[in-house]
């Protein structure tokens, strides 16, 4: 039960990092207490993008190997990723309001790119939900995930150009804590939160993957059960006239 230990370690890490960020780290000189929001916000964003990359890579794995375990990784990563993306956007908005005065800023490339990332994720998950056949679903999801992953850098750069090619107001830079000259407690708080969230992500991925594999097994069993029933029905009607309903059932199962 190493996973269980991982889970408890992750939980402890998150609580410790949150406590550190909320109560121990001093407030920023310019941004005040709002600076604290950066820690979970940046950590969530990092995991949102990591999850997206994993989904795209897992899709490649499926296309290459036709092993449904890759697809299980892909769906797990997508579901967890959409959650972290929503958190990143929420955190960004909560930070923006006290610091910039508005909840939303179109010219901030990270906020708008992450919003688009959310739309891409949701589309991906809906696409999966509307597909029945496991192989077809996996293939569709894989190629959609790939094209979406390729699009993200383009979106990011176009929004940066959007802002930079004409005069825009100067904003307080959220990247301040990533600057090498940043004060140590800030860096520690950020690194700690990122580590804690990554541990949590790992635990969530393992559990979600297990769930996906179980669901795939159920799906397979249900499809097999339908085939067995259809065959039994067909055999039972060998000596009598087959009704259109039954022959329809058998052809559907034989597909």
């Amino acid at each position: 039960m190493k996973t269980r230990i991982l889970g408890f370690v992750a939980l402890a890490a998150v609580l410790a990092a949150a406590g550190f960020g909320l109560f121990v780290v001093p407030a920023d000189l310019n941004q005040g207490d709002a600076q604290r929001i950066m820690y979970p916000h940046v950590a969530s964003a990092w995991l949102a993008y990591l999850s997206f990359g994993v989904t795209a890579l897992a899709g490649i794995g499926w296309l290459w190997r036709r092993d449904l375990r890759f697809d299980a990784v892909a769906v797990s990563s997508a579901e967890i990723g959409v959650m972290f993306t929503a958190f990143a956007i929420w955190g960004g908005m909560m930070w923006a309001r006290p610091v910039w005065g508005t909840f939303w800023q179109w010219e901030d490339p990270r906020l708008t790119t992450t919003a688009l990332l959310l739309a891409l994720y949701v589309g991906y998950l809906l696409l999966r939900r509307l597909s029945d056949d496991p192989a077809r679903r996996a293939t569709r999801a894989a190629i959609v995930g790939l094209v979406a992953a390729v699009d993200i850098p383009i979106v990011h750069f176009s929004v940066i150009w959007w802002r930079g090619l004409h005069q825009g107001p100067t904003f307080l830079d959220p990247n301040k804590i990533l600057h090498p000259a940043a004060p140590l407690p800030f860096v520690l708080a950020l690194v700690g939160m990122v580590l804690a969230f990554t541990l949590t992500w790992s635990w969530l991925m393992i559990r979600r993957y297990q769930l996906a594999r179980l669901q795939a097994g159920h799906e397979e069993a249900a499809r097999y059960g339908r085939v067995v029933r259809a065959r039994a029905k067909a055999r039972g009607h060998e000596t009598t006239m087959t009704s259109p309903i039954d022959s329809g059932d058998a052809t559907e199962a034989a597909r």
Binding site: V14, H41, G91, M94, P98, L204, R207, R208, H218, A221
Partner: protein, 53 residues
């Protein structure tokens, strides 16, 4: 609204949301495991679709 309120809103939703998702995931997993056990033999009477990933 004071800054503190936004900080609480941010942490609350993010960490609370993580916790809720984790709990829900554990329950979904338990339900899926329970469903797996009677399927050790392929039961034609099993009507369930089994859920989808």
């Amino acid at each position: 609204m004071k800054d503190v309120a936004f900080v609480i809103a941010a942490y609350g939703v993010i960490i609370g949301g993580l916790g809720l998702y984790a709990l829900a995931l554990v329950r979904r997993l338990a339900a899926a495991r329970r469903q797996s056990r009677p399927e050790l033999r392929s039961d034609p009477a099993d009507q369930g679709d089994g859920g989808r990933a």
